[in-house]
Point group: D3
Chain length 255, copies 6
């Protein structure tokens, strides 16, 4: 089965990732040959101002319901993958749900959301819809999904399995992938790529901050974005004044 | 013609319905065999925080325009179903408009919206678009629709008739149906189902409130959602402290 | 309610219409201010080579099903609009069905199709799907629809009423409208427009035949399409050799 | 994991299923509570006149490609689920491919199709596209899919695993399901339902044949579809003249 | 090539246009025979409360990328139409981008947006997506587009040329067209129509203000919308009290 | 402006291209880094059995109509890009029309098609619809497009310019590009890539012919597709018996 190679992820990298925006991470992934990292069309639906979601994927897969299989599934309590997936969440994980892009039923409501939060989960991402969105927004857990519906799962779907590779938007998500989510969306980062993305990403954000200052001073795009040879020395000095320079020195190694 | 059986609706039931959320009503309808109550994809576009829409449907049907029929329709003032529908609205009714899912023209603007409010209407629901949405939001009447367009009706549509069965989203709406709308969407309730939905719905909301408390205390889903045998006695005591218990005693009859 | 003014239609006009193609009729309607005559996206699905469908519309309207109303409808045999519509078809009429553009169920199968043929119906046009398409193709009745599905009506729809204005594709169809269908699609002609369309249409077809000859001789578009001043005299002579000239003299009145 | 209970399937039933059309099987499944059997929007693309596809499902699942995983997959020959799935096909099986509804690449070409035929496969059904469709049509194996594309798998997809539950159209397909395909589409039958569908289906086809004769004699729908009390005795006699009566006696047990 | 006739536009007209809403301008254009002015489905994504966008179009056209042409384009700095278009913006112009309706990449980020603002641009309108939307919202420049994506241009597109006629939504935009944008959307006004739209539009807004007052007093639609013969004298007096009456006297010429 | 570098194209290459199928050309382009060659969703609508379309692109661009510009365009005969484009076609060219993917009007009918044939054109490809499709099929010119509509251009579109880069499906087409079309679709080949595609493509077709023989003998995919080390010598001998070996020796240079 498709899987990620085992990769240990330093807490520092996950912390650093919080200082990278999803557009920056997406662009850096593309520069490294990954064109499908960003989850097209899955916006933040519950996210506080400034809140950032970072964590590793625990996946869950739904299928269109079949009447006999649903009946069997609900007859025992032993095999309901959606509840099992939620009750197995480890601290720091993100529940990543392939709900077939379904807009005809909600697969998560405010109860499931609260339980994910209680178990230490870092967020929920769904290629599908939720119920109770207005209440979910009061829970405090980041949630990204297509939209909302009044009905529960069994109007259209049944859970099939969990911790298998799944599809969200037009992107494959494999258990253990790193996800980054903010106001600008969600991006999926293969664990083997994380160090490179964080290292380059932190400086990229600092440099864009510099470019903004220069654009405000009237510089043209070809001068300031990125800083050209004339501006670069000033940038190298200026970046040392930024908080990331001290906090994440590994991101500023090359001059 | 398809119609609802005549049903008297007690004011208390309509008042009680305001204490039920659309996801709860949708789920209860499904439990009673009605799978199409929720209007998929018709979100609130004008609704104050905490505002709830409850009322009975007065329907209006549009069709794609035909040039000769529009001309005839506008030549006399006697047969413009859209104006007639608005001017016939009774207090407490909701104007329910089948606009063919059209996103190429707006069928209501802030003037029509104001007039519905003035006549005592309780809201407007449209499978279509509106003009002047930013102004409509200042009127105070709940309005649910697909989106907005700058043009008026006659760019694409003509009114055909009113108080006939219509289609919104993928749901039939019959004159006299009860509609409930809140931040989580709109649900259509056959009048014969109203008592059952309100009775079960009020307690359901109270019970979910209890479940939230228990989840916050660390209970697992299979314990608290719904309360299992161990938690149920505590719940039965606790629910008596809730305001609905006194206000809507009929909803708490069974222990 | 929207309706056509009462118009007597001469049999000769319906006969003449069979000599006009749908693209020609569509273009002539546009020249007279009617932009929505052609049923976009409703192709012929059962039509023999050279077969043409001409007749007046008997309309039937479906809505998304509601479980209680369907149950009531099937409990009695008195109020099933779809069967009533079929059993009321008059010779020469076309059954025009607004099935909400539904692709999730079939509203007509080979039995209904046969019955329409037996009653003298001239065709069926559906904004929706059929069952048994491969068998329907053996019946001999022209049928235009979106596609096919294995399931019957009650998977998704219920009949609402008949002989009311309906919507197919993005076009209103009113009882009594004249429909023309061929390999190039279906066009809806208001009865008041029929004489003008047939008169201009027959000559238009003859003239296009002439233009084809001239293009084959190497003439440029601006010379032959339509015939310019130099070619027009030759055309006026040539058209007298065509069968329509004798059969429909009213179409060639002006020189 | 979701699976079918183990069910032995008599060869006679599979043979009998070839005498049932997909619309009939779909309707009978609905009557037994299964509303999603028919694969909406997956038409026959390679099927000879009169050819019928019957067999049990061997499933294969694709996901949107991820660049690193594809590279790993192609580096070894040990883990390419799509080739493994094909080379493991047993005689009489149908290759059922969840290709995510993708229209941006073809997942099967004429080579894969030939190999399925050589291994004794009974057909291919894809929620996705194929390459080489014009050549596939010369192979002789029934194939149902969305459409065609010039590019191969790796333009958009990668194979993930096989013999797991998958999704086609809006239907779950589980390994071992029985599929029936003809000119009218494909229907998925849970193995536990097969006997009931075949038994009722064979007689249903015979009875429809009778109804067609009666409609041709001028009977109305309520008389002949199905045969009413007056026509039923004649039907019971007539059905004995039909070839299925002798060949599948179990289908005509009740009078 | 399609172009607007040269038209001088008085600053007073552009100023007056700020007092007309997009629905009013759309309706007035329709009354003058222009049915495609409003950009259907391109909402404001960055716009302060009360902010209005008015200016003339500088167009930019993207195409789906072709790998060799992109490589050539990025090899030199001489021919990147998107940067050239931005660096050529004149004060008061609006950057109008045909991005093929693409939702798979962002064509503008906060850097480009800042540069447009710095050059005196009045806004950006895109039939496509942006990156960094949350940051763009802090820049202060009005921006209308379909949505957001994490990736930059080269995931899907390449710039082709600028200052040519382009397509946004279902509307042609020609260099020099006047655009008006507010919370209710964007409308494109041919320069030759501007005077008529502004003149009629200002009074139309004033009159709607009057109608609102009368509806609040209980008048029916046919009395107050627009003011009928009885109300009209009162309106003519009242309008003189409104600020526009003095500021834009040309709009109130006829009594 | 985006353009192809000037490339002379040998007649032998165009002739050779007729022996390559569109799926083969698409795959070879992908192997060389071009992922968007195939025109997704633009099938052959008029193509005789065995007919192949090869030629260089003459492009034409439509935009949504604007009422004043259309009026101006039709007032003079000097600036109608669509007629000019057709009347400027050189022998062997293919008319490649960007019609905005429009399904609401036809941009070519049988008259335009005939004229293209008369001028020596090799085919027509449209991201849009045609009129008179049933008649176009009798003309003999290959035509690929989305579908059909009864109305002419001016229901929705106006021609903007020609011989500029355009968009069809999700592919850029530049004047002078080489197009190959057959029953399996259309592929766009940059002129600089033609020699490589033809050289590799001819042998690829021959090799697939060999693979088919071996699959029919029972070889597995990993043996015969492509021929493995054991089969390759036999293939190298066999290919010499094929007609292409003698006719296009340049395609078989390497052993």
């Amino acid at each position: 089965m498709l899987c990620n190679p085992p990769v240990d992820i330093a807490a520092e990298l996950l912390e650093g990732l919080k200082h990278v925006s999803t557009p920056t991470a997406t662009a850096l992934l593309m520069g490294r040959g990954f064109n499908h990292g960003y989850l097209t069309g899955i916006p933040p639906q519950a996210l506080a101002p400034g809140q950032v979601m970072v964590g590793r994927a625990r996946t869950l897969r739904f299928l269109p319901l079949r009447e006999d299989l649903v009946k069997t599934q609900y007859a025992s309590t032993a095999d309901r993958p959606h509840r099992d997936a939620i009750e197995s969440i480890e601290p720091g994980e993100i529940l990543v749900i392939d709900a077939c892009g379904c807009r005809e039923a909600g697969v998560v409501g405010d109860m499931f959301t609260r339980r994910v939060l209680e178990r230490g989960g870092a967020g929920i991402v769904i290629d599908g819809s939720v119920r109770d969105l207005s209440t979910i927004r009061t829970v405090g857990l980041p949630l990204f999904c297509l939209g909302q519906h009044g009905a529960g799962i069994n109007r259209a779907l049944m859970s099939a399995d969990y911790q298998v590779p799944v599809k969200l938007a037009n992107t494959a998500v494999v258990p253990g992938d790193v996800l980054l989510g903010d106001q600008d969306g969600v991006v999926v980062i293969p664990p083997t790529e994380l160090a490179a993305i964080v290292t380059a990403g932190i400086e990229h954000e600092v440099q864009e901050r510099f470019t903004r200052l220069k654009l405000a001073e009237g510089y043209a795009l070809h001068q300031a974005y990125p800083p050209d040879e004339q501006l670069r020395p000033a940038y190298l000095t200026w970046r040392q004044t930024q908080p990331e320079f001290e906090r994440f020195p590994f991101a500023f190694a090359e001059p």
